[in-house]
Every structure is written in C-alpha cells, then in structure tokens.
Symmetry: C2
Subunit: 415 residues, 2 copies
C-alpha cells in the first residue's frame, strides 16, 4: 500500500511525500507513483504527529469526575474507588475514547500505564495508533502480591506478542512507595533479559521525597540509582522534587524524564525545574497524564503550558521556546521509546499530521511551529497518518459516533 | 425576529429557550412560537458565551510574529515597529480575524484597547459581536501630544455614536508610565461626565512599580488612588505586582481587575495573587490580552490556565475551581462592563453558545462546567448567538474563508 501526498508544505517549501508500507519512501517535488492513493496536500503542511509520553488512557472515563480536590482526598475517596470497579471491557471503551481524542488532536503514539492490559491493547489495535503499554505493577511490599504481580507480568508479556508491531510491552512499576525494592530489582532484571522499557512515577510529590528520606536516608533518585533501577530504558514521569545532584544522576544514567505540566499544576504537585534539568543534560519529553488530572489528552495544550510554566518558574520569557516544546512533544518522545518516528524524513516511520494552513488559528502564518505551540487547537488538524495508514481525513475518524456513544453510557453507570 | 431553541440542556435539564429581539424571552418546556425560527437543541447544552475582558484585537496580525523574547526587546524591536506601520484598513482586517476566532471559540463580547478605533469598530459591527472599544491614550507627558490625544478622544467619542448599541466607547489611558497625571485626571473627568468606562494597564511588570516608587514615592495603585483615578468604572488589566494594601484599595474603590494568565506567563511578567485578591474582595474577570503575547484569543484556554496558575502559585489544588473560572470568563466580565449578559436567564441579553454534548472532549459528561474549563476546545462549540442573532451554526461562520484569505496576505506584507 502506498500513499502519495501532493504539493504539501514541509519546512516552508512545497513538496510531494510518498509513503510506502509504513515508512516515508521519498520526499521530493513532482513524485510519480501510479499505484498510490493520492492525497491533495495543497493548503496544508505536514508535521510529525505527537508522542504523548505519560498517559493512563482509559481514565478518559473519569474525565471531570472529581476536580479541584486535595491530592489524597481525590485519589482515595474518588479515583481509586471508581477504578476498582472497572472491568476489562470498561478499560477498552475508555481507551477507545482516548485513542479517538488523541487522533483528533494529532497524537499517534502514547506511553501508557494502566490496569487490565488487554482492554487498552485491543483499543489501540483497532484504532490504529502506536503505543507502549505497561500494566501497573503494585505490590505494597506484600510478598504474595509481589509473586502474583511478577507472574502476571510474565504472562502478559507473552500474551502481548499477539498484537501488531504498533503495540509494545513495557514494565510499569508504579512508584518506589508502592513497589518493594525486591520487585523493582526483579523488574530491572526482567527488562534487561527481554529488552523492555520501564515506566515509573518518580518524585511527583514532596511527600514521596520525605517518606523516602525517612525510610532509606536517601532521596528517590539517589535510592533508585542505589538499587540499580536507573538506566537508558527507564522512563520517569513527573520528576518534580529533585536536587541538582539527582538531575546529575538522571543525566548520567540517561534516564528519560517526562514533564507533565498540566497535571502537575492541576494537582498542585509542584514546579518542574526545566532549566536546571536542561543544564544538567537530562533528556525530556512531554505527557498529558490521565484525563482525571488534566482533563484532556491534548499535546498541543501540553506544549503551550510547558512553555508558559517554564517561563513563569524561571522568570524568563526566553526559556523553553516553541521549537523546544515541539521537539519535546514529538522526536524526543519517539527517541525515548526507541521508535523511528517523530520526524518527517525518508526512511522514518510514516506517523504525521496534515494541518490546515487556512485555519484562522494559523493565520497570518509567520512561523508554523510557534502557531502550533501557542495558538492551535484540534480544529487545525485535518489528516492523521500512523504507520502509513490514514486514521483521520477532513477531521473525521471512522466510527467516531459509536465510540462516543459507548463512552457516554458511563455517565449513568459510574455516577 | 424570534428564535426558538427546542429541547436544549440547561443546567442539566431539558428545556426550550425563546429569544425575542435581543433578549431571552421565555425559558420553559414545550414553548410555542409560530413565527420564530426553530433551532433543534437536542444533543446540545446552552451556556453563556464568554466575555474577553482585555484584548488588543487586531494584534491577530502579529500572531507568532515574535515569540520567546525578553519583554523590552520584544516590544521595542519587534512589536512597536510593526504597529507603527499599521493603517486603519490593517486594523479592520486584524479585528475581523479576531472576531472570527472569538466566535469560533465561543466569545461574543470583548473589552479592547487599540489604535485606529474605527478599524476595530467596523469589524465588530459587521461580525455581530458586542465590544467595549477604547483607543489607546498615550502622551508620554508631552503637552502637545496630550492636547492632541484629548481632542481625538472627544472626536472619537462623538463619532462612536454612529455604531449600533453593541459597540460601546471606553477611555483607554495606556498606563501610568505612558500617560501624564494631568491627562489621567482629564480622562477621569471626561469619563464621569459621559458615563464611560476606563480601561488601563496596571502593575504588569515589576519595573512599572519600581519606576512609580522612584518617581512618586508611591506604588502604582496607591498613586492612582491619590490622583483620583480609581472607581467602579475602572477596568485594570494585569495587576500582578500589588501589596495587600493595594488590593484593599482596589476592593474599596470597586475597581474591576482583569487577570491575563497566559500573557503574564508567556512574557514572564509575574504571578497573579489570585487567592489574596479574592480574600481582599476584589472583583475579577479574565482576558487573553493580544495575540502577540498569547497567541490566541481562546477564553476556554484562559480559564484552564487561570485555574492551573492559581493552583501552582498557591500550592493548593482546591484554589480557583472550575465554577469560579467559568464565572470569571462570563458573568463577572459582563457585570464589569455594565452589560446585562453572561447568564442564561429570562430578560438577559441573548448572548450564548450551544455546545455539542457528543463531542469527545465532553464525554462521559459528569460535570459540564468542569469539562468546558478543563477539557474543551473550540471544536465543542456548535452555535454562537449574540444580541439574539446567530453568528455561527454547525461550526460555520459567514464569509470565514474571505476573512482568513485577507488576513493571510499579511504574512508577505509584514514579514
């Protein structure tokens, strides 16, 4: 299967883009491909689609279920009780809604951590996105629970092979305060043996830091390094409450840090030290977190809020400019996941969006990247392509009414 | 002219809404109005449309023209030189683009300050919005300039009467560092004589405060009170760098404060002390500021960022909940402008939006207000009504392609 996009804007010039199979095959003027389906690219620009590096996708079903609450009240009295009722079928419907929302706002790849793996995997498979999925690993330092979690991780890893190449399996130890040291070390070993990524929450709250200091006499990043968890295959979400020394540890171990500014602000978790992370040489990407703490999955909004947050925190309007935000939302995430996407270039995976240059939010149009980061919303995205396949055209996604209808039923079911 | 909206959701129940002339005439089930045009409201909810309380509308033409720069470099080397080239025709095209963008994102009323009054007024008249327009008054304490500004203000006030009731005239002294004390006092007197509002920037930067202290031995709000400017007809934009005493002065004088979180963060102007303002009893609404420091006019985004900013600054996720953000973006602004809109109630001006409850961003749909503040974007807005007239239906605005085409021409013209 081939797709030829004719006369599209790429980095300010007009070109043709040929996709064969799931990769960009040729990018040049006046391409011919008689067998290919032709997309008229006139009036549009091609950009890499977004990579959302920290999600709990099915939490779309908890969107606006409980807002503006204190963190522990929110989790213990609202989120956890509802989550405990969710079945694999619920997870599937929530993840389908998440995939729909991501496609609509230009995201084709996400790094997820949530319960009931197959519910999410089925939705991703059907909807055509790319995802790195981890089941949540929590043992609360209970040995029986730890055994059960290790067994289910091994089983799920085996079962995950049944899905297409778009779906990767990662390990999802929730956090150092919910997983025992022995289990974290088991995770590290299992990941090394099977060449897997590890997705973990790190230093999201000050409480986590204080508890870790009280328990181990070390700060979270120091302790995670000591027990051997850190390395280039670790994706650490949040990472707010860290010292310069810890940032040095993260950089030295090539840990991939995911910044979630909207969630961090909404829950008042704290301020992400962007400039100090950058100075320390830490690799950073962006994530929306789940819909219960955001309440959407828009990477456009996340880029803007990341830039605004950094400028405010560092009292400097030049920090985290549009180009950096755009890279954090695309190629940085792709690299962290070891995926060959996030850029429009020959040989790369064909994951991209076509944006409508006549959308009023992109006008007059001096700098497309600035417009996308600071002005755009989902209405600017016309076409979405993932793995060489068209997931949205003219703003329409296949079967979107059905997906929405089934998700709307949860209002009565969960309220 | 009458419009009957059938079977629409209002505050969670289904009702009919009858608009006659420019006001809500009846809100009840099973209304009959044989002469009225009927809108099918099924699957939608009616909400007050947004009131954007601080704009420089025609700066849409400067969208993404210069980002991520230090404030004075940005103003002096990029914004001002371009502004000095803008003609009334340019202002008209910029304001039309702004009106289009506002309609698309559910805003029907804005409080503007910009050059070349008639350019903006013509655009608002044509596009059907409601606006309070002030020409910028700047004299740099030059007496000849002051005389000229006073004359042109008097002339414009007279000329402004030619427009419809949707367009109000306000006085726009730029700031205390660009307008002499005598001119500010003249503005106060002219406003009192003609029952006009005064729109002014106050304490946007720390530099303004330091300069005021050095010059007058008083902080800006203290000094503005001393010279007699403050009162219930004053709309003060930004108001970031203020002490408790100044907040008390603002509350005592019933000054209307406009919070502009996106602009303040993007320019690293400082943190708005929301909770302390609230405790002092200050009236607060929301504004986007101009497109060169935002870079859009979305009040949905502004509500979310206002909530996120307050939670971060005060380290408390319960501060500035969704309902407060929604009120700041609607009825608070309407009241500050002395307008009878911002609420869906019998007798109020018929300014409203119909949102599509099947939009994926509003699903499952536990709390509409939370969804609008934290999840929605412009794609959720189906219909926009201002002054009883339909400005958008099914996401389409009359002549939108023409408006965009003319604004896109500025890319070549201004670059």
């Amino acid at each position: 299967m081939a797709t030829l996009i004719k006369e599209i804007q790429l980095d300010g010039r007009t070109t043709d883009v040929l996709i064969e199979g799931n990769r960009f095959q040729q990018i040049d003027a006046n391409l011919q491909a008689p067998e290919a389906m032709v997309l008229d690219g006139r009036g549009m620009a091609i950009l890499p689609s977004f990579v959302n590096m920290h999600t709990h996708a099915s939490m779309t079903l908890l969107r606006s279920y409980a807002d503006d609450l204190e963190l522990h009240d929110w989790l213990e009295n609202h989120i956890w009780p509802l989550e405990s009722r969710m079945t694999e079928e619920d997870i599937y419907h929530g993840a389908r809604l998440a995939c729909l929302e991501m496609i609509k706002s230009g995201t084709t790849c996400f790094n997820d951590m949530y319960w009931l793996f197959h519910g999410t995997a089925r939705a991703v498979e059907e909807m055509g996105l790319r995802a790195m999925l981890s089941s949540v690993f929590i043992d609360f330092s209970d040995e029986a629970k730890a055994r059960e979690q290790r067994d289910s991780t091994e089983r799920l890893f085996g079962e995950s092979q049944r899905y297409s190449d778009r779906i990767g399996f990662a390990l999802g130890p929730h956090a150092l305060y919910t997983v025992s040291k022995e289990s974290l070390q088991w995770v590290k070993k299992f990941a090394a043996e099977n060449n897997l990524l590890i997705h973990i929450h790190v230093s999201e709250t000050e409480k986590e830091v204080q508890d870790c200091l009280a328990r181990y006499g070390l700060r979270p990043v120091q302790w995670l390094e000591k027990i051997g968890l850190l390395g280039p295959n670790v994706i650490a979400a949040h990472v707010i409450h860290v010292t310069e020394e810890e940032m040095g540890i993260l950089a030295r171990n090539d840990v991939k840090v995911v910044h979630n500014p909207v969630s961090n602000m909404k829950l008042a978790a704290g301020s992400f030290p962007f400039r100090r992370m950058q100075a320390a040489g830490v690799q950073m990407s962006l994530g929306t977190d789940g819909c219960s703490s955001n309440n959407n999955l828009s990477m456009m909004e996340e880029m803007k809020v990341a830039a605004l947050h950094a400028k405010l925190i560092h009292n400097d309007p030049t920090v985290l400019p549009a180009h950096t935000a755009f890279e954090m939302a695309t190629v940085n995430g792709a690299r962290a996941l070891g995926l060959d996407c996030g850029e429009i270039a020959v040989g790369k995976l064909a994951d991209c969006i076509l944006v409508d240059l006549a959308n009023h939010r992109l006008v007059p149009g001096y700098r497309l990247e600035d417009d996308i980061v600071y002005s755009a919303d989902s209405s600017c995205v016309d076409t979405v392509i993932c793995d060489g396949k068209i997931l949205m055209r003219g703003g329409r996604v296949d079967r979107e009414e059905e997906i929405v209808d089934e998700a709307r039923a949860y209002k009565k079911k969960f309220q």
